[in-house]
């Protein structure tokens, strides 16, 4: 009766602090836990008593990698509570800044954090010695996304320009023009990146995930839509709590989100893509097929290909938005606070980011609830770990550890939002 424990004490190339514990008994995986020891961060508590107008600045600090996701979910929730719709070019500018965040976040993960797994390097910098052109292209893509963030947001990390109702200041067409030029080059680089990652060797591994993402009548989703799943869920953003719940488990400072009726589900690029393939432009669908992707991809290791495809999409969408842009007369729609609840859900690079706020009549926050994408994916990550480890149990601990780390990186987890990697301790009895 052989039992052993595989530990990874500190996960690398992920955002935040986490570790992995794998228990193996009788040739089977007895348990797989992603242990999140990121210190608890009390955003929902800090927000009580704060004003609605300062909320986008505060929630941005949940994540330095995807601050726009938090800002966007917050402003939509605030506007929902106060009965205001933001449309037209202000809505277009929100999509545009979100394109910037997807490009910079995905490019960072695809080239600097994830690709090294497939090519056998510890990081993007060492990978650059043999794949210099692709690393430089990846960094250039990241820079193009950041330029968009910096122009529309004031800066790349914790942008200052997003406010409930719109923006503090909107750009002129002339200011957007040079970013448009760099995005044209970025689009070509993104296609090159997609074709490169499509040549990687992927482990044969699929799981029957329940995918969850936003779905919008006419668009690949960023800010709006209904929450849908690959099974029977099709609900308004405000109804999230009827189908989903959070559980507090002992091994994690991140709460686990689960479907009340079925348990684990998956959010992020694979889910978004599977549920919205028909919303991609024909040109992007064609590139997907050329990269070997069907309309649904259930292999989490191939998420790198879907991320690269989403970079292409975000570049094309940004170019379309810039071409159609006319500066709006007002930088923000005026808001009148009132008592009540508001809900917001947007597609962060890592998946849906859901917010609920209860406001006092003066617009102060009475209660807040924020569900980040990585908290939602945690049960799914653990299920992947168990299945992946099972498939390589006959191999060395080194192989088991590497494959498990890679399985976690497939998710581009942002542990600060809701971890770093590893030393391995193996106990055999």
């Amino acid at each position: 009766m052989a039992t052993k424990t595989v530990h990874v004490d500190y996960l690398a190339r992920v955002e935040g602090e986490g570790a992995l514990d794998l228990q193996i008994a009788d040739g089977r995986v007895a348990s797989a836990q992603l242990r999140i020891f990121e210190p608890p961060r009390f955003f929902e508590a800090f927000l009580r008593g704060r004003g609605y107008a300062e909320t986008p600045d505060i929630v941005a600090r949940i994540c330095g990698i995807c601050p726009i996701a938090y800002q966007m979910s917050a402003v939509h929730a605030i506007e929902h509570a106060f009965g205001v719709q933001v449309g037209g070019q202000l809505r277009a500018l929100r999509r545009l800044i979100y394109c910037g965040e997807w490009i910079e976040s995905h490019a960072l993960h695809v080239v600097m954090l994830h690709a090294p797994d497939f090519l056998g390097f510890p990081d993007g910098i060492q990978m650059a010695r043999e794949h210099g052109d692709m690393v430089r292209d990846g960094l250039a893509l990241k820079k193009a996304g950041n330029e968009l963030m910096a122009l529309l947001g004031g800066r790349e990390i914790h942008p200052v320009n997003v406010r409930p109702g719109g923006f503090y200041r909107v750009p002129s067409r002339a200011e957007l023009a040079p970013v448009g030029e760099s995005l044209k080059r970025a689009r070509d680089r993104a296609v090159g990146l997609l074709r490169w990652v499509a040549t990687f060797t992927f482990p044969e591994f699929e799981r029957d995930y329940e995918f969850v993402a936003l779905r919008h009548p006419g668009e690949y989703p960023f800010n709006e839509g209904r929450i849908v799943s690959s099974r029977d869920i099709d609900i308004a953003i405000a109804d999230y709590e009827t189908e989903f719940e959070e559980r507090h488990v002992a091994h994690s400072t991140a709460l686990h989100s689960l479907l009340k009726r079925r348990g684990a589900y998956l959010v992020g690029p694979l889910a978004r893509y599977a549920l919205n393939f028909d919303r991609l432009p024909a040109s992007v669908q064609q590139l997907a097929r050329e990269a070997g992707l069907g309309p649904v991809c259930r292999n989490p290791f191939r998420s790198i290909v879907v991320r690269a495809l989403e970079i292409v999409y975000a570049c094309e969408e940004a170019l379309r938005l810039i071409a159609d842009y006319e500066p709006p007369a007002l930088a923000a729609v005026p808001l009148e606070p009132r008592a009540g609840n508001g809900f917001g859900c947007t597609e962060a690079p890592r998946g849906i980011c859901w917010h609920r706020y209860d406001f006092e009549a003066d617009g102060s926050i009475r209660a807040a609830r924020i569900v980040p994408p990585t908290a939602q994916n945690q049960p799914s990550i653990e299920a992947d770990l168990a299945a992946v480890a099972e498939s390589v149990l006959d191999q060395s601990d080194e192989v088991i550890r590497d494959r498990c780390e890679q399985s976690i990186r497939n998710y581009d987890p942002c542990i600060s939002c809701s971890a770093h990697f590893l030393k391995l301790a193996v106990q055999r009895t």
């Binding site: 210190p39 961060r41 009390f42 600090r61 330095g64 910098i125 820079k143 004031g154 990697f421």
Partner: protein
């Protein structure tokens, strides 16, 4: 640099959003060149290759909020010739220090269903409250060009050229018309420079994410805010964000409120 020993850099994380260490990866044009002249020996967010210490320069992100982290920072100090804090969390306790104004057990109960699983301190303290710090780089987030300046300065053994004046000077340099004279309350007159005065350039008031400048006159600024119609609660909220427990901001915020 073959043959000569490259200086060794380490990047450490405590309670934080990862944004300040991301600033290093955001140096898209400089990163590969930087990696030629320095050995990025430990940077878990970017690399799974961990080289053992000691390190010539440690960049520390995040604040101390757990007993375990209070121990860990001492070990980081022991392994580091120079230790530089990056960002408001590491330099001033950051947004996590808002717990200092409340009951942390109450905070735990708001967020977590099973408070007994959560181990946390009642305070969020800057790195300098635990170990000697060689330089503190301000900002929430830091400015990546200032980060490159600090790394360059430490590697050649000079003082970093980072100004301690107010954001107002940066507005003047940038040619931004003062937002206060247009009726918008702004923390720029008491806030440490470094961001490049972004907020006023986007037609909003500075919200103090770089923390207090040297010798700020916060009382005079609070009077100006009142004249512009800000309530005591508005003033308190503005001073209690990402640098709330710095002496200047804490003291002034305590003079206002409901």
């Amino acid at each position: 640099m073959a043959g000569s020993r490259r200086p060794r850099l380490a990047v450490w994380k405590f309670a934080s959003c990862d944004g300040c260490q991301l600033s290093l990866l955001d140096c898209e044009d400089e990163l590969l060149a930087l990696a030629e002249v320095i050995d990025i020996a430990k940077f878990p967010e970017a690399s799974s290759a961990f080289e053992a210490g000691p390190y010539d320069l440690s960049l520390v992100e995040g604040s101390i909020t757990t007993a375990h982290d209070a121990e860990r920072i001492r070990e980081v100090r022991r392994q580091s010739r120079h230790l530089v804090t990056i960002g408001a969390c590491a330099t001033a306790g950051g947004i996590q220090a808002l717990r200092d104004f409340a009951d942390v057990d109450d905070f735990v109960a708001v967020v977590y269903a099973s408070p007994q699983y959560i181990q946390t301190l009642a305070t969020s303290t800057p790195i300098s409250a635990h170990v000697p710090v060689d330089f503190e780089l301000r900002g929430c987030p830091i400015n990546k060009m200032q980060l490159l300046e600090v790394i360059s300065a430490f590697l050649v053994g000079r003082k970093p050229a980072v100004a301690a004046h107010s954001v107002c000077i940066e507005c003047k340099r940038r040619g931004t018309v003062c937002v206060m004279v247009q009726g918008v309350p702004c923390l720029g007159p008491v806030t440490h420079a470094g961001c490049g005065a972004i907020c006023p350039a986007y037609r909003r008031g500075c919200y103090g994410c770089y923390g207090p400048m040297e010798t700020p006159n916060t009382a005079a600024l609070a009077r100006e805010w009142q004249a512009l119609g800000a309530s005591p609660r508005d003033i308190q909220r503005a001073l209690r964000t990402f640098n709330a427990t710095t002496e200047a901001f804490r003291k002034e915020s305590e003079a206002h409120g409901d």
